[in-house]
């Protein structure tokens, strides 16, 4: 009763604090408005549209749309091109992942111990990461050219048989994988180097005094366990990057020869933007997204663990 009549001393303060809170609310929302709008328009709404579209028979320009349920996904399962491209993508990941992670780690460990030559090697190994892959793909195409390329010329010189790397079905995908590794080794090396320099020098010295002096011992006892989180992170990142292979296929092989280098993104590109089987491409994109999300879930899990030590 009386609480209405007599304002407690705290009320004014609360009102003042309330005003600050109100300002925060308004500015907070205002600051986030452009980002939220763009987030909805360029990411979340298209994502929903994509999912809905994957259950229809929509083709670009078509006027009437009807739901076809899971037919697009069923079609994908029995589509030899899709199955081939999914298989090829996974195969590509299976080659690039161990190759670029192991070599990246090896190079990082060796480069880390160098003092004067460290930046020299760092620059060279990192160079492919910075370069425009499309332009370098053209150069690779020339390097691998059956008649004009220096690689085959070298093979001839040492008396080996020559290879048409990009036009032999059994070689095309592995060749692309080598180029993928060429681009990823430097990237992984730098991630591993960051992980290595986070290991305090004291620990290595303590290990040395404790008798852990050989390079194998040092690697197994200190380096490898302490790089564990970095390694998990590199594995996931590399998987995602490799899974998204597109550029080299689009420039060098266009899925050929005989579909031996068809990969998922290239298939989606062809279906969606060349043949305009929009709904079918949407279904393929959903499948693509599921794979990426699986990798990403692992990644967030790993990122959480990364700060553990």
């Amino acid at each position: 009763m009386s609480s209405l009549a007599i304002p407690a001393p705290g009320v004014r303060r609360q009102a003042f604090g309330g005003r600050q809170a109100l300002i925060e609310k308004i500015t907070g929302m205002g600051f986030c408005l452009p980002a939220t709008t763009l987030l909805l328009l360029t990411s979340l709404v298209p994502l929903c549209v994509l999912v809905v579209m994957s259950f229809t028979d929509y083709e670009l320009g078509a006027l009437d749309i009807k739901s076809v349920g899971l037919a697009n996904f069923g079609k994908a399962m029995s589509d030899p091109m899709f199955r081939r491209s999914l298989w090829n993508t996974l195969l590509y990941v299976a080659i690039v992942l161990p190759g670029s992670v192991c070599l990246g780690l090896l190079v990082a460990v060796l480069v880390h111990q160098r003092k004067r030559t460290r930046s020299f090697y760092e620059i060279i190994y990192f160079l492919p990461v910075t370069s425009t892959l499309i332009a370098m793909a053209t150069v690779w195409q020339f390097l691998l050219h059956p008649r004009l390329g220096p690689i085959n010329a070298f093979l001839q010189l040492i008396g080996s048989r020559q290879y048409a790397f990009l036009s032999e079905p059994s070689l095309a995908l592995p060749t692309l994988a080598v180029i993928g590794m060429w681009q990823l080794i430097g990237f992984n090396m730098v991630l591993f180097l960051a992980g290595l320099s986070a290991i305090p020098r004291d620990i290595y010295e303590a290990a040395e005094v404790d008798g852990c002096s050989g390079s194998i011992d040092r690697f197994l006892t200190i380096t490898w366990p302490l790089l564990g989180p970095t390694t998990m992170f590199v594995i996931v990142t590399t998987s995602i990057t490799a899974f998204k292979i597109f550029d080299t296929v689009a420039v060098m092989t266009r899925g050929g020869p005989m579909g031996s280098s068809e990969v998922l993104l290239y298939a989606i590109y062809l279906e969606g933007f060349q043949y305009f089987h929009t709904a079918y491409a949407a279904a393929l994109t959903v499948i693509f997204l599921v794979f990426i999300l699986v990798f990403s879930v692992i990644q967030t899990f790993v990122l959480d663990r990364r700060t553990h030590y």
């Binding site: 907070g28 929302m29 990411s43 425009t132 499309i134 332009a135 053209t138 150069v139 990403s296």
Partner: protein
Amino acid sequence: MRSESDSRRLSTTRPAWALLRRAVSLLFVHGFLLAGAVFMLLPFVWMLVTSIKPPEEIFTAQLRLWPKQFYGLENYRFALTSAPLLRFALNGVFICACILAVQLLVAIPCGYALAKLRFPGRQALFVLTLLALAIPVQVPALPLYIALADLGLLNTYFSMMVPFFLSVFAIFLLRQFFKGFPDDIIHAARLDGMSEFEIVWRIVTPSAWPAIAAFAVFSIVAHWNDLYWPLIVISDAKLAPPPLGMMFFSDAETGSNYGALTAAATILTAPLVVAFLFARRHFIAGITMTGVK
């Protein structure tokens, strides 16, 4: 027992032997690293030397590194005249600059709000940001393409840039960075009568300079090299960014004119590589910041 094993070990380490072992291991390490370096550099070196070789030498003397006849001028002139390479490069600069500017303008206030302000929907927005972090541009590409086609915006600079205006990664990164910014400074600024708008741009943003620089490198490298999206929305060669331009160029009449092709590749790769050589630390920090692409 212990001293026995110790004295045995003692005798195994003689200075000369240790020196020899070290020399051999150094030999192996550098041998391996140099072999790898050759593999890494091979395309670059071959690109450069091929771009100054005359066609006859490209077609015959396959393993010769240095050309007998310097044909660089002709190759580069041919590349520059038969395709608007400089135009491609300028397109790249323009697109990267616009994308980066909008990304920062959008992400900085948002990152600040998520880090330091309390408002309804903050948690939800942050969760959505994390979710969107996992979605690569290839996913919303189809609906975006349809929308742009309906609006008649295909084949414009705008269509090439719009999917990238929002970088959830930038928001995420800046939020993490701003979280570490001392609250006391913000309170002091408020007491001094600064508006939130001024606090963001005059106090907090300058302190985030390292993060912004790293992100700028990350963003520029990503969009200078991006092929997928421009390939979809651009068919007019005049608008092409470097990778797409390179593709147009190699598709066109050049065919197997590798001298001109490598000259073009050199011209389009050079800007980033040169920038990398000059700002190595920033590049490595930027590109490897998270590995999230």
